[in-house]
Symmetry: C2
Subunit: 199 residues, 2 copies
């Protein structure tokens, strides 16, 4: 209940944002209308433009407003390396480390038969086609370390097996700054199996 | 850094929302573009309309899209009671209790000389005019229980003194469900001073 149907509609609309409940949505609406209308206009205009113009890169399926994204179009990136991730935010996280110089392929999700998401929905055919004709020498599977992520990684590896390339999986182990005491058993088991000689 | 200047702009715009930092803004932008474009369009359209159309009620200064808000226009509300609050969200909180049947006056802030906010900025003249000619019999000061809220309440009470009406302040004390052990000394002192006879 409120004193204005328009504000109620706005509160309702803001609840589409992830992690925003009724109280936060109300706070956001009142803040924008009471003290930052300029910011409100900026959000409305940029959001409308982004919804209209942002699409997916035809090669790696990342979000961008042109046909071929900056990473795919950059001749300095190593075309022999292809990193397979679940979502655009994973690409952002990897890019922020500044260490990876290859290209990407975004699955937009993971295999989940119960939700009707099979190989077609996550673009496995498109990935296989991309790997075949483009000089790719190694595919790095960087899907999440969840049951679904592991299954997706395994399925894709099976599909790529007939092609003569390396297929690798990012390492599992103890995160930096992690205390052994608080690390779960599965992670510890991976850390021991994947141990590396110091000298 | 990102793969699209438009997404960067959107992330930047979303940071105008209260309590939203760079990580949450990025999550919101990617979520809307990747999985809920309809919600994105809804937010953009409703927000643009709200910024354009929502103004302040001419009588109580609450946010609404008409000249006189629902509460001021409702003849069933008790016109002899006027509750003075700092912000429209305070009105919402009080309305949600469903107990108060009088009208409101929104100060839009509190006195804060250090930020250049004096009586004019919070509309004290407008409040005095409202109280004088409209059959108001009691003014309930419901500003926040902060130093600024108390000072604002005190100042306004002084200004209203010459008019022949009751001026009251909402009660301070132990909140419901509060354990005495964790209640601060100032609140406890108020709770003792304001004690009421049980029989």
């Amino acid at each position: 209940m409120s004193f204005s149907p328009l504000i109620d509609q706005l509160v309702d609309a803001l609840r589409c944002l992830p992690g925003v409940g009724p109280k936060s949505a109300q706070r956001m609406a009142l803040h924008l209308l009471e003290s930052n209308r300029e910011g409100g206009t900026k959000i409305a205009e940029t959001l409308a433009q982004a919804v209209r113009e942002v699409k997916h890169c035809q090669q790696c399926r990342i979000l961008c407003e042109v046909d071929t994204c900056k990473i795919c179009a950059n001749p300095k990136r190593d075309g022999t390396l292809l990193c397979v991730v679940e979502s655009p935010s994973d690409v952002l996280a990897i890019e922020q480390t500044g260490l990876y110089r290859g290209r990407y392929f975004v699955l937009k999700g993971h295999l989940s038969p119960i939700d009707g998401i099979g190989p077609e929905e996550i673009g496995v055919d498109q990935l296989v086609a991309r790997v075949k004709g483009n000089g790719v020498e190694e595919v790095i599977m960087a899907t999440n370390s969840t049951v679904e992520g592991e299954a997706t990684s395994h399925y894709i590896a099976e599909q790529l097996k007939p092609i003569n390339i390396n297929i690798s999986r990012i390492a599992h182990g103890v995160p930096l700054g992690g205390e052994l005491e608080y690390v779960d058993g599965g992670t510890l088991a991976h850390a021991f199996q994947g141990r590396r000689s110091i000298f």
